[in-house]
Symmetry: C2
Subunit: 97 residues, 2 copies
DNA sequence: TTGATAGGCAAGTGTTCACTTGCCTATCGT
DNA sequence: ACGATAGGCAAGTGAACACTTGCCTATCAA
């Protein structure tokens, strides 16, 4: 639902996670943890990030694939494209002269 | 800030208000109240909607102009265009062959 | 098999948020 | 001036949310 997408984007940490995954797709939880803590200082536990990833996944913004004991996370920008055309003109922002 | 834009969009009522204002720009608080209650049934007080409008305004998504005892509200989609290009490719979604 | 790595589940806590309630100010019509 | 209309301010309430804490499961290397 669009509802979940907006709620998922409401949190700054989740937006940072999306930033991370756009930079490098297919990261594991621990990789994301390390990179987020490195770029922001501590204050973020592994469980917190895990819960954020769950929110992003249930919003359809992140897909996961298990492989052994690893779980890789990939971004899916498709929900984003759909929610913005809600208020923006579907095309041609300067088509009306 | 982008922070405020995302938080403003997180609430379904505020998104409905944006829908209303996109349909008909320059409405007053009472007009928005009437139309929202008409389309959704009660459960929304005037003050609630007023507070939502304040959030949208401080996020830059709505601008206001006073005129006598009326206060008209207009949408401003500019903040929307900026926040989405954060994760979407700025242009050409299929430019990489 | 043992230990270490990668991740998950669930109850508890504190803060933020949406909404209400009650009253107050300002503008317009008569 | 009076009442009615349009809107604002601020304290209080209940629910949602982010985050922690503690423990548990599964996979891999030795």
């Amino acid at each position: 639902m669009a509802e979940d997408v907006f709620k998922a984007l409401a949190d700054p940490t989740r937006r940072r996670i999306l930033d991370e995954l756009v930079q490098r797709d297919g990261q594991t939880l621990f990789e994301i943890c390390a990179r987020l803590v490195a770029g922001r200082g501590p204050g973020l536990s592994r469980q917190a990030i895990s819960q954020h990833l769950a929110v992003l996944e249930s919003a359809g913004l992140v897909t996961t694939r298990r492989q052994g004991r690893y779980k890789f996370h990939d971004v899916n920008t498709e929900p984003l494209e759909r929610i913005v055309t809600r208020w923006l003109r579907p095309d041609a922002p300067e088509s009306t002269p």
